[in-house]
Point group: C2
Chain length 512, copies 2
């Protein structure tokens, strides 16, 4: 784990000097956990929740809105369909989930960046969806395509980020019906990491597949998964035609979807953790079962975006103990289903990348690692309850992801790690700074932040007494200055440009 | 758990109005975990470390400095003593540890605040030791007795802090040989929570016992533990006469000590986690064995203050993955010895209570909870690698400790928590905000920060767009304004004052 897939760039003194600078173009291998998961629920509790979820599906059912084909599929599969309400007999949804793969490969155009999703792995992807961006200089404002491109660049340059993500912010200056084209273009050309497809219309999912066929080749896309996209469930227990339409396109094309309730506890699910877990399990098994009705074996991820609520104001709250409990519990439920698990992220409700943001984020990131998450969306850059993509927080969070890598390596106990020679060499009252074992191991012994300040107080004061925000501002600037685009076959670049140009010309702008 | 021991104050409209204000004088019961511990090491790894620790004790040994009595005790117990080097035959130190209690009670003068240390419990105590203080207004400066008293007051008013601690900051304006008297006086009179005794000279430990005899009564102190004090080991493997002298006083008087290596990995222990754990185990078992040689059954805590180092600058680093690994592993070693465990805290190397401080602190607090810590010193207020007690960070961290309480409660799965009626009542497409289950449970359902901002962006902007630091400044001010001293028998107060006055008059000031 943490074996780096180094990208070396072309020759020339300037290029070599760039390599020696603080900027790194390395991407760490996705995390392969060598530590256990934290199992918060015992078997009895898990069995109660599973039995209750079956009761919910069989007796209450789910609504499948504006989607007669889906109703037909469910009816044929043995469900009781009454209007748009689908009641699923006990065990049926769970049984249908069995054809979904336990792990799958999402290919990147740079094969060194291909990821395995599932098992003991953890793939980290950036923030998804905010209409606003924030930085120290210009404050909070609507996101534009220029911002989007900057975030893709920052993601490409983040050593600990394995995935380029999807809607790293909403490019609100581009028509709604065309922005998916520009967003995909940015992921495909400004980065070589794996990415996500569009889900805002089934036709945009089709466009996403077609652009991937240009990038990867048509045959490759039919045989391989090259996108993992986010399909939200309208909790409680409602599956709308837009999201299901995107799921249908992706499943038919063997492309992966995260099937994910989006829950603020107390609003879209019960105020209790056990009740919320029951609903999450019912919703996800219904959604994944449906993906398998479309195409048995289609790659999917058990998603759970669940957080708590401030009952005073109704605001969603993040990094809270109830959110952690749900994330730990949902991980256990996903593993018992044998499915890859998506949850957690760099969550916060704070309006600034301040201490609140960092406490809440660190709570979320830690529980994400220990709860066995396989795909972590929003792993960096999230601010203000997901309304804002923050430039500074992006690099702060991305840096912290390095700590997750190191923690996940576990504790080696081989002869060198036991360090008995060192203890004997140094002895009582000595110090280890110069001993042979330290000399041999110090370079890799300790994870080190590339954002935080470790200097003595006096040096730090002389340098301007900067807080983390100021240090991050500087890092964002430096990263964007030293960014270099990964190479891409010019013929592919041209074909993508032609596709996007034609597609855009084929329809009038729409901003709704 | 989290059952509150409410302190109600005397009558009068003003007092009742004060009670209804934002300030709370409640203290939560110490945490009684209803969640598992995170077990990072498997049995094989634990056995390797335990065997290696025995080898260290038997073949390398420990230094016991300037303490002939201790050498005699060890010789009588069967150790090989050569000068100040003590080699302890395999199994002997571990065997001697068996008489130490698995859990013990530390009494507070307010019985509702008495704590049980050990088992599945977690007792939270504030920062210990910094010579500097910091706040937003006045910045960083040497700590004074006035600062000390403010921290004791803040600790008394913190709902989630079970313990008043010890040297919450060093009152540098008071002579070194007298400050322990003023510090104890502050803990005894400004708070009614349990506290720590002095360890800087054996005579000061004696003074601490004598002051407790005034506060609790002489007989009570002989039969009960009323102090838990911090005895550091000079790692690697050195036990100095000052610390051991304090331990001797406390153990003889049945008072508790944390016996704790103080390790910056790579300097005072090997750069590897397994090597560090080996050394920690060897040191702590030797120290605890010694406490049991003094008085079998003396209450002690297996301590581990261990963090990593920045190999670039030599600065200690906090909230790092290696520190987490060590804390998880040391917890397992402590449990296998059947001893209460002290580790973790609100650690950070940052110079400000900024995002760095909060990421590092949250990493540390989370691993502290999950690693099974029973006594967490430094649970709030720590800044700049322990050089600084921060007023703002004290209240920020103390607030986060509430999240630990809630997480530790675990996930109820009783019939009410299953919320099946709520799921049926709301159904697909509904919302839970008004349903019966939510109405019945919303008050206790979700933990809520009393420092963070959960308001909408617009409200937050209108109120001055304050970051967490500014919100915390306000909370510190409010807490200190509304502080009320807990009642104390005036005769005891007078006797304490007389003791301190006489003691101070009995010796000249010393500032070294």
């Amino acid at each position: 784990m943490a074996e780096a897939a180094t990208r070396r760039r072309g020759g020339g003194g300037a290029s070599r000097r760039a390599e020696r600078s603080a900027v790194s173009f390395e991407t760490a291998r996705y995390i392969q956990r060598n530590i256990p998961n934290f199992e918060i629920l015992n078997d009895e509790a898990l069995e109660i929740i599973e039995a209750n979820a079956e009761t919910v599906l069989a007796e209450i059912g789910v609504n499948i809105v504006n989607n007669p084909t889906a109703l037909d599929l469910w009816r044929e599969a043995g469900a009781d369909v009454n209007g748009e309400r689908v009641r699923i007999p006990r065990g049926l949804a769970r049984k249908l989930c069995e054809t979904a793969p336990q792990t799958f490969t999402q290919h990147a155009r740079n094969p060194a960046r291909t990821v395995e999703i599932g098992g003991r792995n953890l793939v980290l992807a950036p923030v998804y969806g905010p209409p606003f961006v924030h930085d120290a200089e210009a404050g909070r404002r609507y996101a534009t395509m220029a911002d989007f491109e900057k975030f893709v660049k920052l993601g490409y340059m983040s050593k600990w980020l394995h995935h380029s993500g999807g809607t790293v912010c909403e490019p609100t200056d581009i028509p709604v019906n065309k922005r998916h084209l520009d967003m995909l273009m940015a992921h495909m050309t400004l980065s070589d990491k794996p990415f996500m497809g569009s889900v805002t219309e089934p036709s945009r999912a089709e466009d996403s597949v077609e652009m991937c066929e240009i990038l990867f080749g048509k045959e490759f896309v039919q045989d391989n998964t090259v996108m993992t996209s986010l399909v939200n469930i309208n909790s409680p227990m409602t599956f709308d035609d837009v999201m299901m339409g995107a799921l249908e396109v992706y499943a038919k094309n063997n492309q992966a979807c995260i099937i994910s309730p989006f829950i603020v506890g107390g609003a879209m699910a019960p105020v209790s953790v056990a009740g919320t877990l029951t609903q999450v399990l019912a919703e996800v098994t219904a959604g994944i079962a449906y993906s398998q009705l479309i195409r048995p074996g289609a790659p999917v991820i058990f998603g759970a975006f669940v957080t708590s609520i401030d009952m005073n104001s109704g605001a969603p709250t993040f990094g809270t103990p109830e959110a952690s409990q749900i994330t730990y519990g949902a991980g256990q439920l996903a593993r018992r289903l044998g499915l890859p698990y998506r949850s957690a992220g760099a969550f916060t409700g704070s309006k600034l990348p301040d201490a609140q943001a960092a406490y809440e984020t660190a709570n979320s990131l830690n529980m994400g690692l220990l709860s066995g998450v396989n795909f972590m969306l929003h792993a960096c850059g999230w601010l203000e309850g997901g309304l804002v993509s923050s430039f500074e927080k992006f690099v702060m969070d991305a840096d912290q992801l390095g700590a997750l890598h190191k923690l996940a390596e576990g504790i080696p106990v081989d002869s060198d790690a036991q360090a008995m020679d060192a203890i004997a060499e140094v002895g009582p009252g000595g110090h280890y700074l110069g001993c042979a074992h330290t000399q041999a191991n110090f370079k890799s012994a300790f994870w080190r932040s590339e954002v935080f300040d470790y200097k003595p107080y006096e040096t730090w004061s002389e340098e301007g007494a900067r807080d983390t925000m100021a240090l991050a501002t500087e890092r964002v600037r430096r990263q964007l200055e030293t960014y270099q685009q990964p190479a891409l076959d010019p013929a592919i670049q041209d074909a993508l440009t032609e596709y996007v140009t034609k597609k855009k010309a084929s329809m009038p702008d729409a901003f709704m």
